[in-house]
Amino acid sequence: MSEGEGKKAPYTLPIGPTHPALKEPVMFTFQMEGETIKDVDFAPGQTHRGIEWMGMRRNPVQIVHLTDRICGICGVVHTLSFCLAVEQIAEIEVPERADYIRVIVHELERVQSHLLWAGVAAHELGFDSLLHLTWRVREQAMDVIENITGNRVNYGIVQVGGVRRDITPEQHPLIEECLTTYEGLLSSLLDLFLDDRSIHMRCRDRGILTYDDAVHLCTVGPTSRASGVNMDLRQDYPYAAYGDLDVRAILPDQYAGETRGDVYDRIVVRLLEVGQSCGIIRQCLSEMPAGEITAEPKIAKLLAVCKKAHGEAIGRVEAPRGECLHYVRMDGKESPTSWKVKASSYSNLMSWIPMLRGEQIADIPIIVASIDPCLSCTDRVAVIRGGRRNILTKEELHRLSVEATRRLQA
C-alpha cells in the first residue's frame, strides 16, 4: 500500500490499554503503512493507585511498608529510596552493617528482576521453553530472598535508620550456594540467549535506540547502557555501601565488542548485570563489618525523631530498570507534607517512539518489553474532573502555573 491511496494509508492500529501482548496496561496508537509502523503514540496512566495520597496520611514507619508495595518486582528499591530521603532529612546515620545488608538484598533483587525480564523477553519472542527455564532458575534467588527477609515478594526488610533483620552466619552458605549456581549458570544462559539463531534474528538491529536519542530522552538504567551511555548510579553517585564496592557500568561492547543499541544489546546488558550482581554480593559478604543493624532499634523513638524533622530531600537508587527517585518533604508533622515517586520506567517510556518507528507489527511485543516497563510503578497522576478523566496539555499546565504565581502575588 503506497501513500495517498485514499483514507486507508496510513491506517490506525490501537493496541491496549490491556492487551495480551503487553504485560502492563498502556494504550498504544500506531500509524501503520502496511506492516510498517510509521508513527506511534502512547498513553500511560491506566493504573494510578494513589499510593502517595495514602502516604501523606501515614508516618514514615508505615510508609516504608507502602513503598514495598509500589512495585512487585523492585520491592526493596522504592523502600530504600524513600528511607535514604527520610534519613537525610532527619539526619539519621545508618550503621555500616545495615548498608551492606541493604546492598545484598538490593543486588539479589536485581538478579531475580533481570531473570524475570529475560524470561518475559523469551516469551514475547514465542520461545516459551526458555521462559520456563529462566523462571525456574530465578526461583533460587527468590528462595534466598525469602530466607533473608521472610517473604518472597514484599520483603519488609528496610526500615528508616537501617534494616529490620540481620544476616546470620548460618545464612552465608545458602547465599554462597546461590551465587555459585548463578555464576555457573551465567555462561549457559548467555549461550542460550545470545547464540540462539531465532533470538539473534528477532533481536539484532530491532528496536534501535541511538546514543544521541538515549541521552536526549533522558533514558536510565539498562536501556541507556545498552545504547552505550556510561551511566550507573552505583558508580556515579554511590549510596548505601556502594562507595566501598567496585561497581562499573556494564556496556554491551564488553561482550560483543560493539554497541548497536538494539534489543539484543539490552539482553546482553541485563544478563551481564546478573553476573555483576553476584560479584557484588560476594564482595559484600566477605567485607561486611560487624555491628548494629539499625540506628534506632526503638521504633517509638524513631517516630519521635521523624516527627521533629524539617526539610526536604531526594533519595536516588539504581533500580533494576534504572534510576528511581523519591522526593520527600517533612514539616515537623507525623506524616510527610509531600512525597513524590519517580519510578525508573517513567524516564524510559519515551524511548519507545524512536525504537518502534519503522519496525513491524510482530516486533511490537518484544520492543515494548525490551525497556522492561513497569507501568503500575510509573503511574503517579490521574486528573479527574466531574467523574471523567482529563489530560492536561502543556499549555494548560503553563496557564495553571501562571495563575498560581498570580495568586501568590496577590
Partner: protein, 134 residues
C-alpha cells in the same frame, strides 16, 4: 555459533523431576475445604507444602494477658488492621486487612504479638471467625 543451544538443555530437562510442588494435590480439588476434611479422615493424601522460611510472617498471634493497651501497634500498622477497643483496652486484629509486615510485633513493648507459620488463610468471607484475632 551453535544455532539451537536450547535443544540439548530441553532433552536434559525431560529426564528431571518437575520443579513444581503439587500442593495440596496433583489435581486441584473442586473444593479445598472438603478436600482438607477428607485428608483429616484419612480418605485423601495431602502433598505437603514447601517449608516456610525462618522468621516467616504468617497469621498473627496475640497474647491478651500481657497486653497493656498502649496502642503503639495501632500507631504503626500501615493498613489500619488493628483496632484498640476502648472498653477493654485490648486490641482486635482484622487479619483480612493485615499486610503481614510484622511491624507491630517489632513495636510491642511487652512482646505480646507474634507471627506464626500459618499461611492458608484464603476464604470468601473476610469477617470469618478465623480472620479476627482478639
Amino acid at each position: 555459533m551453535s544455532s539451537l543451544p536450547m535443544i540439548p538443555e530441553l532433552l536434559r530437562q525431560l529426564m528431571r523431576k518437575p520443579a513444581t510442588n503439587l500442593f495440596p494435590a496433583k489435581y486441584l480439588p473442586p473444593s479445598v475445604t472438603e478436600f482438607l476434611h477428607s485428608v483429616a479422615s484419612g480418605k485423601a493424601h495431602l502433598t505437603p507444602p514447601v517449608k516456610t522460611p525462618p522468621k516467616f510472617r504468617g497469621k498473627i498471634e496475640y497474647q491478651k494477658d500481657g497486653c497493656i493497651g498502649c496502642g503503639l501497634c495501632v500507631k504503626v500498622c500501615p493498613s489500619h488492621a488493628i483496632e484498640l477497643l476502648p472498653e477493654t483496652k485490648r486490641i482486635r486484629i482484622w487479619v483480612d486487612q493485615c499486610i503481614f509486615c510484622s511491624q507491630c510485633t517489632d513495636m510491642c513493648p511487652k512482646g505480646g504479638l507474634r507471627m506464626t507459620d500459618e499461611f492458608l488463610l484464603a476464604t470468601e468471607d473476610r469477617y470469618e471467625e478465623n480472620l479476627i484475632v482478639e
